[in-house]
Every structure is written in structure tokens, then in C-alpha cells.
Amino acid sequence: MLLKPRPLFFFKRVLQVSLFFLSLYLVAEGLWGNPFAPANLTTQFVWVHYRGVLIFSLLLLGNLFCFACPFIFFRDLLRLFVAPKFLFPQKLRNKWTAIFIFSLMLFSYEAFSLWSSPFKTAWLIVGFFSAALIVDGLFKQASFCKYICPVGHFNFLTSALSPSEVKIKTEQTCADCKTYDCLKGNADHRGCELNLFLPKKAGNFDCTFCMDCVVACPSDNILLARVLPGENLERESVSPGIGKIESRKDFQWAILTFFFLGFLNAFLMTAPAQKLLDVWLQINHSNLLWIVLNFVFFGMALPFLLFFLPANWLKQRPNDSIIVLLPMGIGLWSAHYSFHFLTGVLAFTPLLGLNLPTKWMGLNPSQAVPVELGLLFLGVLFSFLLLLKKEKQKAMKIYSLILFAALSLLCAWILLQPMQMRSTFVGVMP
């Protein structure tokens, strides 16, 4: 056990309050501070530090950011005054909305250059607070977390490789339980708002590490335990409140979207992508159309062409091969985010009036490449090992091995490309 339930819950509240006030400060800095991204703490913290700390904390600790979510803290405050009345619509109780919003967020990032605008970044934070309030103000339980939140879903997927998990201590205690407080809650504490029944829960999917079940359990039978990263991806698991992940089309597409849009997000930062854009702009002047086409191709066409179509030809199911693609996707995202984090970890210090030597502010981009390749390699290795173990269909296994090898090489190629920060002020030239 990492921490006792009560101190853990108290620690969560302290983190939530701190992040809540930090969010308010970042909103103010973004709306009214320096409009230039590198001279503004909002853009620095949101697009460099938050993403870097997020990915490292997911891989080294667990879903710390859902645990400390300031949006849910604010929602909890307002729920003291207004209780939601409705249940989330049955037809929307799946991951399709979250996939759409996750794609929309990445699309907005590219199309509207969110990283270069403190003002837009501040409104993004406001948007998250508002969405959490509106959705959870109307609908009971943690509907925003389970069905909507794009950051939460990024965390759910990435926490498949986290070294910690909320688990029960002994099965017998749960077998003797008649009240199911971990799920239903009690007079003092709420139960799991994401409908995860702890005795049957497998893995970190849909778990926000909120610790509600931990404090609700009257037998003190739930703990935050250390686990082997990715152990739940290896076996077919049926998790309550989720079902069999391998058979759920929405989960498969969530993983495909996570991988291919992660690929696109990294690729668009490179010099070859900029050259392609220049070629496109000679044919058509719409930058927006270029981004739309990229998203349609990488987000929809490519996953279909590489997974569903070949599986159909082979008369086999792509389910297991898609699930085991997840670690490679995590490797790619962590490589990308670690680049920004490591190359600019202290680049914000001049904004605080500190004059550190330049070499202390972050790694040279070329020095970050080994770290990026190392993280990608770990993800690729995980995916290959899982593929060999999990995929039972022979033809699909051979095809997926070839496909994974090609995808790994493409990911490595992206990381080795010279970075070129994207055109924000096209037309403003000396």
C-alpha cells in the first residue's frame, strides 16, 4: 500500500485545491497577460510542463492528474448546492463522444494554433471547467469523466502502463460484504461514480484514482497497490462497468485514435510536414482544409485501411492486435511530450525574473533524441511482446507483426526528423 486511505484522500484534496487556484491564475495570465506564447506562463505551463509532468507521472506513479483534477473539485463544490437530476443518456454511455472530443481538441490545437495563443489556452481551461460543470450539473455520477473528458481518456489509456492500481486487499472480505459501499456509497462517502465494482475491476481503464471507494469501504479492504505495468493488457479481461474491452468497438477506436492522432501530432512538428504543407499551399490556399484532410486520413482512413480492411480480407478479427497497439501509442506520446518538456523545462524562469544560464533551461533538441527513442522503444517492445502473447489468430499475428514493424520505423523516423516549429505568423516577414 502506498498510503493509508485517509491521508491519501486528504492529499488529494490539497492537490485539487492547489491545482484549482493554479488554474485560476493561468486563466488570468492567459486572458490578460503577455499575448506572446513564450512570454506567457499559461502557454508555457499548459503546453510544456503540464503535458510533460502528466506523461511522466502516468508512467512512473499513476493517474495522478485525474486524482488531483481541479475541474472535478469545482464540480464537487457546486454539487453541494445543486444536485443533478438526470442519468446520462443510455445511447451516449460509450466512448464515442470522448473520441470525438479528443479528436476535436487535437484538431483545434492544429487548426487554431492553440499552443501559440495564451488567450485561446485560457479559454480552453475555462471550457473544461464549464463542460465539467454543465455535464455533471445535469447528469448524476461522474458522467463528464466517464463519457466526455478528453484529457481523462488520454489518462485512462496511458494508465494501462502505470505501475499502480486501485485494488481490493482480500477477495474473502468482498465475498462477505452485503452493502457494496465501494460502489453504492454510504451516508458519509460516495461510492464509485464510474460504476467500477472493485472486486471485479481489472486494470486502470475508467479509473480516475478518486479514492472514493477507498474511503467508502467499511472494511478498509481497498488500497492503491503497486502492479506490473501493462499486466491487464495481456489477458482478456471483463471489467464491470466496461465489459470486455477487446470486443468493444468504441475502445478499439479510442486506441486507434490515440495512436494515429498522436502520430499526426508529432509528425506535423517536423520539417518534412512543413514541406508537404508548402506544396499543398501552392495547390490550395486553405491551411484549414489541409488540417481537415490530415485528420480524416490519419484519424479515420488509415486505421480502417491498416486494421479493419486487412482483417476482413483475412477473415479474422483485429480486436487483439488493436488493443496491443496501445503501448506503442503511449511510447510515441511520451517521446513527443518528453521532447518539449526536456528541451524547455526551465524556459519559464526568465518570466519569473530569474536569469539562469541558457544551458540550464533545457536540453539541446539533439540531446533529447535518445530519451525520445528510448521511450518509443519501450512502448514498441511492449506492443510486440503483447502481440506475440495475445494474438491467437495466425494470419492476423503475421500481418500485425509486419504492420507494427513498419509503424515503429515510421515513429522512429518522425523523432529523428529536424523539428520545425509550425507557422504561426505566416505572412509576417522581415
Binding site: V17, F20, F21, L24, Y25, V27, A28, E29, L31, W32, G33, F36, A37, P38, A39, N40, T43, Q44, W47, V48, H49, L77, L78, L80, F81, W115, S116, A271, Q274, K275, D278, H340, F341, T343, G344, A347, F348, P350, T358, M361, G362, N364, P365, P418, M419, Q420, M421, R422, S423, T424, F425, V426, V428, M429, P430
Partner: protein, 134 residues
């Protein structure tokens, strides 16, 4: 008790936002002096990052008088946040003209942040946008 605590927090949050807005408003209204900055880049196309970029500029006040005795800090940074900034030395070369030379670290969009301190003690900030060519 919980409700009272929640109310206090919400009021505190609102007050913090109001305080910050006022603070930024006062800060932003401080730089009011009109200052003209005419500038030229020595390279019309920045193609090779191994070569230094030289940035020469002239300062004039609102009456078009040359400003010859300003102390200037120049920091170049990318449009993407989190990139390590490039600090450049700015030298006076007479007649209100200033010269600086620095190396860019990556192709893409750049911003030059100029902090100009006049002899009167007034501090003015200016930003200049430019991009490298592919």
C-alpha cells in the same frame, strides 16, 4: 459546514480573479510612450542556422528624434512556448542605430523581445516577429 467552506472558496476564487485582472490592467497601461522602431535584418532569407542573424535597428521618439542612449535587452524566442530563449548582446553604433548578432537554434517562427530602457528611466517593451525560410 461543508457548504460554508464551499462558499468561502468560491468567493475567494472570484476575488482572486478580480484582483488579478486589476493587476494586469495596471501593468498593461504602464507603457504608454510612443516609440518608433525601424529595423532591418541583415539576411533577407534565414536559411542556414550555422550563420549568425544580425539584427540592426534604429530608435526614434514620437517627434522622429533619434534615441541614442537607450540600454537594450534582446531575447529571441520561438512562437512555441517552452523553447530555450536566445539572449543577444545589443551594441550602440551611433545615430540611434543599434546592432546585434545571434544564432537561431531551430527553423520556424521567431519573436524578438526587446526591452528598451531610456535614460529617463522609462522602460518600453517591443516584439518583432519573423520566420526562417526553408
Amino acid at each position: 459546514m461543508k457548504k460554508a467552506f464551499a462558499l468561502v472558496l468560491i468567493i475567494l476564487a472570484g476575488s482572486l480573479l478580480f484582483f488579478l485582472k486589476e493587476n494586469y490592467r495596471q501593468k498593461n497601461s504602464a507603457d504608454t510612450m510612443v516609440l518608433n522602431l525601424s529595423w532591418t535584418m541583415s539576411l533577407s532569407e534565414i536559411k542556414d542556422l550555422n550563420l549568425p542573424v544580425t539584427f540592426d535597428f534604429t530608435l526614434t521618439d514620437e517627434h522622429q528624434n533619434k534615441i541614442t542612449d537607450a540600454e537594450i535587452e534582446l531575447v529571441a524566442n520561438m512562437s512555441h512556448p517552452g523553447m530555450v530563449p536566445v539572449n543577444a548582446v545589443v551594441e550602440k553604433s551611433g545615430q540611434g542605430t543599434y546592432k546585434s548578432s545571434f544564432h537561431l537554434t531551430m527553423p520556424g517562427d521567431w519573436i524578438l523581445f526587446l526591452t528598451i530602457r531610456l535614460k529617463s528611466g522609462m522602460e518600453i517593451k517591443k516584439e518583432v516577429l519573423f520566420k526562417t525560410m526553408q
